[in-house]
Symmetry: C2
Subunit: 324 residues, 2 copies
């Protein structure tokens, strides 16, 4: 049993991770500012004797440092995870990702916590020329403030490993799907089609190629990577062998909802500025430890849509874009 | 004639660049907080009708934005350039490099200035396995907070190029030597030997391999890169074909000072935590534009030592370490 802090504990990935860690017998302290996290995602966890949640702002280093006393490891998942709107509020990625990560590292250092698990992103590869993209691809250039901020976080974490003898596990995710997923194109399409099943306007030409991983596959891969790799700095791509187009998602959603909307697409190969028209990660490293995804992209979308059906409240709330 | 802002204008590289830009007929506004910059470095520039200097804190975005109005290009050189002491004050690199760069980019955006020239560093390559290290080497891990912060700056600049249509020239320097150089091992050794010509204690085993470039070679390379390369993002390593050991510097300094001190070295292959025992950059890209260094390492050290002799005030001032 370990004493674990999960930042962003009420978020999509965070809350699923909390449930998983509790099921493995760990003691978990969740930290969240509830800007995008939701109380209902941790409803079940809060009934567990080994779980505590504290509402706090990780930008306030003076406040948060006290909460870190006595813990063994930090899963740092709190972030502005909305890659799309970086250029409408450039300060947000700097603050919520880079500076917050610095504050978490400093709070850890103040209490001699040496182990950090970090949720990074395939977005740091920008528009890599090497597809599928391995962890040690040629230095990419950043195409989004989100990717730039996550790369900055990785750099900070790596430097703390060198200078302060930290140990880190950095996971570069593709997009994640599943229960409690509430932003991204599957969410947007489903919501739009609920309102108007006859027409669906999409961003870009629909041929943007993307990779997705199902949340439980993602968590299993993280736990395996942490358990098996013990270098000072351990970096893993997490994704699946499938590369899909936005149109593939639409087909699955149409069948699930039993509708046949007219699709209105755009000329652009990118859905938005900084969108990667092609993100596909080489996952040989995590595969070599014995991990393979158990769920296909289709499985993941259907599980997500089933969860939407059973949780209409989550779909009817304002999206992060609408909350801007 | 262009209207140019130089941040860090009173620093070692900044003040030499200011002199160069003025000699080319440009109008220059220098911004400096004089934390390490020195009034005497810009004494000559301040007599020039095309030069203005403003003392300001680039962390104060609200203040600085006004100064950017009406300029064409920003040479952003202001930084905490002291790689060695990052782990004694971790916030400094984050603030003075990452956050200051963000503020500069935002001030530029406020006034529709689209062109930025940035002084990055070979330190972002950490301990690269590929020597000499090219610009597109495999993604390195960061070994210093300085390197991590400069990588974060590069990411921000690249994202601004993608999202806000900026154009950037990013130069990754090896160490720079020459007139107004006042920190680094040649400075430290000279100063120690002035005080005690009989003994010299050095950090590490003296076999750390380093690269140096002479300041005027460095500036010429930058100007050529800016003039000839016009991609959205232009990244150049700047260094020379020479790789020297710390002991090589000591030999040149001994002869110049006409002394023969006893050298006391350490067992460690690194001078300090985060020191790169080997930094050697592949400069084929800048060479292909027609640039070659005109001065050898030996030339650079001797020019530096001659400048020390003529500027005892600069040597007798407290070093940045002593000012900590």
């Amino acid at each position: 049993m370990k004493k674990i802090i999960v930042t962003g504990a009420a978020g999509f990935i965070g809350s699923n991770l909390v449930d998983h860690l509790l099921s493995r017998g760990h003691e978990v302290l969740g930290l969240d500012n509830f800007s995008t996290g939701r109380r209902r995602f941790i409803e079940k966890a809060t009934t567990h004797p080994n779980f505590k949640i504290i509402t706090c702002d990780l930008l306030d280093k003076g406040e948060i440092v006290q909460y870190f006393q006595g813990y063994d490891v930090v899963f740092h998942l709190a972030a502005n995870a909305d890659v799309r709107f970086g250029f409408t509020h450039p300060r947000k990625d700097l603050e919520q990702n880079t500076i917050v990560t610095f504050n978490v590292l400093e709070a850890m250092r103040a209490h001699s916590i040496k182990n950090i698990v970090f949720s990074s992103t395939g977005a740091i590869y920008g528009e890599s020329k090497i597809i599928p993209t391995p962890e040690d691809c040629p230095m990419p250039t950043q195409t989004s403030l989100y990717g730039a901020s996550k790369l900055a976080c990785e750099g900070l974490i790596q430097a703390y490993c060198e200078g302060f003898d930290f140990q880190s596990w950095i996971f570069r995710f593709v997009s994640v799907l599943g229960e409690r997923y509430t932003h991204g194109h599957v969410f947007d399409f489903y919501k739009k089609l609920l309102n108007n099943p006859n027409t669906l306007e999409i961003l870009g030409d629909g041929h943007q190629k993307k990779s997705y991983i199902y949340i439980q596959d993602c968590i299993e891969a993280m736990m395996l990577g942490i358990e098996k790799e013990k270098d000072k700095i351990n970096i893993f791509n997490l994704g699946t062998p499938e590369m899909i187009e936005v149109f593939n998602s639409i087909e699955i959603i149409k069948k699930f909802m039993n509708i046949d909307p007219k699709i209105i697409s755009q000329d652009s190969t990118k859905g938005w500025i900084g969108d990667n028209p092609m993100l596909f990660l080489d996952t040989k490293k995590i595969n070599s430890l014995g991990w393979q995804p158990k769920f296909s992209f289709r499985d993941g979308v259907i599980k997500t849509l089933e969860w939407f059906e059973g949780n209409a409240w989550a779909v009817s709330e304002k999206t992060s874009k609408e909350r801007l």
